[in-house]
Symmetry: D2
Subunit: 348 residues, 4 copies
């Protein structure tokens, strides 16, 4: 029997991706589309400016949008809500849904670094889900909030995990070239980015640095313990629609040849046996000299795989490589959906 | 009395930039435009597809292009030739011009790493010009070949020089986001780069790594001695017309605060007193959060200044910052012209 | 029982689209991939630079490419070949395949305007297929050559057909904004088109003007008779990857309101009952103020539908509107495949 | 003695262009920069986000912005104000400045079609300035409002004027491909236009159609009389930063060959003898097959010349050609400044 789910912030960029991923989902039935009061009461197709390259799913086009109110009767039978809320609203509203007994799988950054909120990539730190019990006790909630990382963090961390497991990691240096869709539909004016690079994304470097340490850390005695390595990041916006490209440099604890790094990445497939609907091989290795590229490779694994190429030696670090992820699928909506699928399969 | 000069490879991308920089030059008179046999004999305006945003200088449009032949009589009174030849042709033809008594200021990579060929940025390593005497003796030339670095090297090295002088440098890590003009007019198909990033530029990482060590090294006992630091680079192509953006991370020998790094960069102005026509303040500091940006800042100092911004701490390195240079002016034609101006002023 | 088919020019832009459309095709079995001698003998994945956003079909990646030789034994059992050959090669090689008994469905322009060669859009002028008998007799071929129009012609003509049938057409004026993929992978340098428009495409205006008259003409007494209207065209290249956008102005014979024009377009669905695998509703009407747009609408009907919007009055013409087509699907590979499907269903 | 001038709406896109054009102006002294209350009181460099590719003029960077208040003492000695106000504000505020005795040269659309407001291109309809007397009497103003056309109108109308004068004009059909800067800095999100065309610009077609008739009409008995021809337009936005490209089709009254059309355009130079500082030859003919192009030709005549190319026959119209204008220079700030220069020279 399927689980009824809803989307908070259904009309925005990530909300639209949630809709695409939950349409015809084998275990989730998408029942509720919630958005701001401005949109509530309208048909979904009229409330949002749909700008995906696939048309709006017909059965949802006429669905009436409800307000983002945890006590609205539309949510009565809903067990899981996916949140694409902006950070300030998420901070206020997600706890209300958790209090109302919902499992909130959130893409918002608001709660990610809270001490009792799991920040999870299921291939990387599934044990962090255990924190839910603590969270419920702390906050006296029936539901819970589970978060996934920032779009630019997730691609890097998935590639670092198998390296850390096999060789240990001392230092990580990353320079990102991030797609415009990461800033939302109105986030980057065309006058700002055509024929241009913007070498700054607000709070992005801080998020990548703190989130990576939490994700690659441990869960011990009901506490998160940060990973024991250093990470420095420089973030840039480039004129690409979807797909964050990252130049990653890693110094491992133990010696490792590029070929060995490539092998541990290629074999990394920890959730295979769960048969989760949204799961794809987490890392796909590209052997061509000039790949991965965002326009050609962002849809690998239906947007859920990280493409990795150019694994090679570096004079300072052990290895350097290029990683690419679809920032609004694997880096946002897909991350939340995969978290929910894993949680349902393992814990419900 | 002015010096008569010529351009080798006058019809290509860098050749056109040479023309713009030598038009109305106060000490160089542009007398000869040389190109391939296919172009020779035609008027310049017919031999080349001019695609600069300023129109072709009228007095050059009708000039007849000559073949790239050191013994052609058009070169008789010419003392200096600027070379925008492709690497393979440069290797063959530049020595012939040097043998014929010309000073060859070359943007080609062919001879840069030769043991007796100066690779010079005049603000950085002017003493390398001394190698010319050795070169002439070695090769029995009346003229000489003087090279400037690869476009992506020069922006980084100029910013590293004042840091090295003041604090010493141990480690340098760079990720580049390079403009399409660096590959020449036909170098990057639009199908390859629209809505895309290409994480590979042939030989570029190697050039940046080896050239930086030579440029920031010493000239001792008639030998070049590499700089004593490590440098690792990752190069990417982005959909930008002109202007290479670089995320640079530096570990200094002595402790240094970002504010101190900024100050030494800002004060760096070693050639000021020479009053060279093409000279501009080598480093211009931008204090905005989100600068430099290629479209807005590439023309700083008429394309001759490196714009630097976002100087900040890094968890691994001492400091990180973003540098931007106009790759076909400061990174190519302008570099050669400045070398020639400095040489003429100091040595002739 | 399925029909065995091959592709000529399988490694290029349109060739790759043919592969995507023939993979898992219900009535065509893709048996032969042919390309130049340089590619022949190699595995397909090695012979071509695959740059579609979906990965290369696995079962074809290892297929050995054969030379484009009508007598090669690989073609023995093949009944149909799809041609993505460049025009000059098509002129020479396609007749050899027709002579060898193959039905050649060609996207090349070489033979389109020949007096005995059908130029067909099956929704528009299916009766032109009757010319095959004449062609065979004229040329003493067992096979035949059937062509489809130029990519920018097809979108316009499909929208004109229902208007002509209902109201008659006197004048047609079109300005195109065409995607870079129409010129092939190396056709448009990025230096030529970033931040730019190129108001010229070689021979494109002539093709659109002559092909439209043939397509919207008649087949009478074994001759093609041109349509009785005037058409003028201006063609431009814009920085769009796929999808030609066209501003179309039409003067009808009889009076017609925009709403009526919209209705006849919307109802136009002449091949519905054939249930052809590649068929989609030929015209999809968009009611939004600002559609169709290439990035959002090019995949409508899996790239086979023409999207039409902004149908409105004009001070000079009866009506003006914007039409959009996927130029490498409906405008190239998909056009040939649909022709073949229709022919097989109706005539074999 | 120079005339003191001010700018209304000095911080926006067109305001910045006004500043560039009035810096070091030989007859206008830029004394006042006015903007919204949010900006008033700040230094100009802090009040605006300067995003031109040339740096902000130093002497203006520290100038204190004043509110857009006609009675503010900063305007006391100012005779001319240039208005880059948004249309709704222009409607309210420009009359207050005219009432206060200022000559308002406005780029806003608000007053363009008023019966007593001149809409002028000085090369085209300078006699419309005579309406100022009527306006003053009607409205009891000491000053006056003089407008220039919409950015996409001006390029077309300048090319039509010499054709009309020589051959007469019956029909004009235009399809535009307009730059993003026309919509202001935040006007077009990058998600909307990268790899895309938007076939709609609000009110643009109506403006082009009505303004062209007024501009190419007469001034008779103190009334504007519309030109006697029909014009139909289709407007599109393309991913170009500056420069509107237009495919124009013209049916003349008398027969005319493309070569003749070219000649009358080329000779069109009606204001030459005035020696206006901002004036450039109004039409520059390009003979290349594929020009004009916005990135290469928008700066022709420092952005004040219309580039015209591809003048050729059309099956329906007499002639078709491509015109290009710099939309924020000739199509906005430069148009107002030229109007003011002409007015000062002729009438003051």
């Amino acid at each position: 029997m399927n689980i009824k789910v809803g989307i908070l912030g259904a009309t925005g960029n990530v909300g639209q991706r949630f809709i695409q991923m939950l349409e015809n989902h084998p275990i989730f039935d998408l029942e509720v589309l919630a958005a701001s009061h401005r949109s509530a009461g309208k048909k979904y197709a009229e409330a949002c400016y749909w700008y995906q390259s696939e048309p709006i799913p017909e059965e949802l086009a006429n669905k009436i949008v409800v307000p983002t109110d945890a006590n609205h009767k539309a949510f009565e039978d809903v067990d899981i809500v996916f949140s694409a809320l902006p950070s300030d609203l998420a901070k206020k509203l997600e706890p209300e849904f958790a209090k109302a007994g919902k499992l909130v799988f959130s893409n918002a950054s608001a709660m990610r670094m809270e001490k009792d909120v799991p920040l999870v990539i299921p291939e990387v730190n599934p044990e962090h889900f255990e924190m839910i019990d603590v969270q419920r006790e702390n906050r006296n909630w029936d539901g819970a909030i589970i978060t996934n990382p920032n779009c630019s963090t997730i691609g890097a961390v998935i590639t670092l995990k198998p390296i850390m497991d096999e060789f240990g990691i001392d230092l990580v240096n990353i320079t990102t070239m991030q797609a415009i869709s990461g800033a939302g539909y109105n986030g980057v004016p065309s006058m700002a980015i055509l024929d241009n690079v913007i070498p700054y994304i607000g709070n992005e470097e801080e998020k990548m640095q703190t989130e990576s340490l939490k994700l690659l850390g441990k869960f011990e005695n009901n506490n998160f313990v940060n990973g024991d390595f250093k990470i420095g990041v420089s973030c840039n916006r480039v004129p690409v629609i979807d797909g964050h490209t990252e130049s990653i440099f890693v110094k491992t604890r133990e010696e490792a040849e590029p070929e060995e790094i490539k092998n541990v990445m290629d074999k990394f497939d920890p959730l295979k046996e769960y048969n989760l609907p949204t799961y794809a091989k987490p890392i796909v290795i590209r052997d061509e000299l000039d790949r991965p590229q965002p326009r050609l490779d962002r849809n690998t694994g239906k947007g859920m795989s990280i493409s990795v190429g150019r694994i090679r030696k570096d004079p300072i670090f052990t290895v350097k490589y290029t990683a690419l992820e679809h920032n609004t699928i694997r880096g946002a909506a897909g991350a939340s959906v995969l978290n929910a699928e894993f949680y349902v399969k393992k814990y419900l």
